[in-house]
């Protein structure tokens, strides 16, 4: 069964063809990073505009790469939330109309659940490996999400914890902005932190007792306090341009600010909390498998730290999907859609999008 997956929840437009839920025939991702860089973050209206002009070329490319036509597609899976409403609706309306015109099943997919299904995917040319084992503990970390999820079977999820304020990726973005390091923040902080002392600044960790929730807003405030003494006033002689969307102006700092130490300490504070709390949850729920998913999975310090913590925990092993399936992509949506269709799920033409959608709904 060939499922066409479509993902437009934020600032990537993606389409993929996946056979039988695991075999990736194609996975095309068109990123808008360059578009949003000048604004220091994702501008929802600009993201929605770019989705609308990317959707046909991206779907066309996915079909072409998979060497199939629309007539070879048996069903369409599309992200219905959570995400930016204006971006989501482009994929949802396009997907439902194509499914309608082709008379094939349509299934709306929860983006958070789709991230977990990245673990079922095998890259083009590879034989699908061993099936992931249930129950599975997942740490999902990206610009939009920080969640600890327990997956006990297909379509069966439990949210153990989530961030109470900023997502981990959002914390990296805000930290990078405070340090004048640019967008996206994760790679910028990682690069700036190289050679820095992770213990140079005692930045706070929000452990939140026995809870599996996270909080990163205090960390951002603490970083601001360290940076403040070096901050120079903004130059306000620059004329305001008339463009409809505000340009981002990086802050200016006095010389001698220990950027590497600040970035390293900041990164360590985030990674520390994520790794330790995930390992604790793995022990509590005795899960044979722990998975790391989401764009922040690309962070080297997090991968290393989590590997160490999980190796020290007996009876469990860490599984990290290929990086291209960690960041937002449509192959994971197609995989989630395939298993949902097998359980009898199907969406009607009234399928709606939802900017806030908890896992399991």
């Amino acid at each position: 069964m060939n499922v066409l997956g479509i993902e437009t929840s934020c600032d990537e437009t993606s389409a993929a063809v996946v056979r039988d839920g695991r075999d990736v025939r194609s996975n095309v991702v068109s990123s808008q990073i360059e578009l949003h860089r000048a604004h220091g973050g994702v501008v929802p209206e600009l993201a929605a505009r770019a989705q609308l002009t990317a959707i046909i070329p991206v779907v066309e490319a996915a079909l072409q790469l998979a060497e199939v036509g629309l007539e070879d597609i048996d069903a369409i899976a599309v992200t219905r939330g959570p995400g930016l409403a204006g971006s989501l609706l482009v994929g949802a309306n396009f997907a439902k109309t194509v499914a309608y015109a082709r008379s094939i099943p349509l299934v709306g997919v929860n983006h958070l659940e789709a991230h977990l299904y990245a673990n079922w995917l095998s890259p083009p040319g590879d034989e699908p490996g061993e099936q992931p084992a249930f129950p599975m503990l997942a740490l999902l970390v990206s610009g939009g999400h920080t969640e600890l999820l327990l997956m006990t079977g297909h379509g069966r999820y439990e949210q153990l914890g989530r961030t109470l304020d900023d997502a981990a990726g959002e914390a990296f973005d805000k930290g990078a902005r405070l340090l004048g390091l640019g967008y996206p923040g994760g790679p910028a902080i990682q690069q700036a932190a190289a050679g820095g002392d992770t213990a140079a600044f005692a930045l706070p960790r929000a452990w939140l007792g026995d809870s599996h929730d996270f909080s990163f807003s205090g960390l951002k405030t603490a970083l601001l306090r360290e940076v403040e003494p070096y901050r120079l006033p903004d130059e306000d002689d620059e004329p305001e341009d008339d463009a409809p969307f505000r340009k981002h102006r990086p802050p200016r700092f006095a010389e001698g600010m220990p950027v590497a130490d600040l970035a390293a300490s900041f990164q360590e504070a985030i990674v520390d909390v994520l790794a330790v709390k995930t390992a604790t949850a793995a022990r509590t729920f005795e899960t044979p498998q722990v998975v790391l998913a989401g764009g922040v999975a690309a962070n080297r310090a997090l991968r290393e730290r989590l590997t160490g913590e999980i190796e020290a925990t007996s009876g469990t092993m860490l599984r990290v999907p290929a990086l291209s399936y960690c960041t937002d992509n449509a192959a994971m949506v197609a995989a989630a859609g395939y298993y949902a269709l097998r359980r009898g799920a199907q969406s009607g033409w009234e399928l709606d999008v939802s900017s806030r959608l908890p896992v399991g709904r």
Binding site: I56, N93, K96
Partner: protein, 223 residues
């Protein structure tokens, strides 16, 4: 604007154009074959994603027209609510892509002005833009003279002069505004799209996007 003179299709096979208008809460779908339009107009109340494809399906059923008989799709490109417009455009792009038929964008204010082709003076076609602002264009003898402009209602009042004002006139107390029938706008989207189709025109389905008529920066994203 004079109704375009359209020759009947030469082809023996039935030729149908589907039109979609999600420029605002006043949404519509239409089917047109060059003679008589079938129209559904409804208050989408920001639920365009939930309702639009279902209404098109309903209209196809009502008229007994097969999806395979569609030869083109016309879509309103605004001005209007950016998000609502993108629902119609995504739907129209889906039809164009999956059926392999031409896509034709049609101006929403153009479709308002086309309903006033009897007017003996300039026509100003207005769409609301939220927060007390309006987007409007001026037409004379069916031709676009000015716009689209995003202004306050006061600025529109100053610019209007003796023009006939029509469209989303809810905000416009004190104007001698013309009331237009529900569904009139989408019918004109269909007719104007049809005229473009017979003239051999079509838009690039991948690149077609709404008219993004901005006011000042703070008004950049109409509700």
């Amino acid at each position: 604007m004079a109704t375009p003179q359209i020759a009947p299709p030469v082809s023996e096979t039935p030729l149908w154009l589907a039109a979609i208008d999600t420029s605002s809460d006043r949404a519509g779908v239409a089917l047109y074959d060059g003679s008589m339009a079938s129209v559904i107009a409804w208050n989408a109340r920001r639920n365009h994603t939930v309702t639009t494809l279902g209404q098109l399906d309903h209209l196809l059923h009502l008229t007994g027209i097969e999806l395979g008989a569609l030869r083109a799709v016309a879509v309103a490109t605004g001005p209007g609510s950016f998000s609502a417009l993108r629902v119609g455009l995504s739907t129209a792009k889906g039809l164009s892509f999956s059926l392999g038929i031409p896509l034709l964008g049609v101006s929403t204010t153009g479709a308002i002005a086309a309903q006033l082709d009897w007017a003996d003076r300039p026509v100003i076609a207005v769409m609301t833009a939220g927060r007390g602002r309006v987007v409007w264009s001026r037409y004379e003898d069916g031709a676009l003279i000015e716009g689209p402009r995003n202004t306050t209602v006061v600025e529109l009042r100053e610019a209007a002069g003796d023009a006939l004002v029509a469209g989303e006139t809810d905000l416009l107390d004190g104007f001698d505004a013309v009331q237009l029938p529900a569904g009139g706008r989408v019918e004109q989207i269909a007719r104007l799209g049809w005229a473009r189709l017979l003239a051999g025109e079509q838009d690039d389905a991948a690149l077609l996007e709404p008219v993004y008529a901005h006011g000042r920066r703070t008004e950049a994203v109409p509700a």
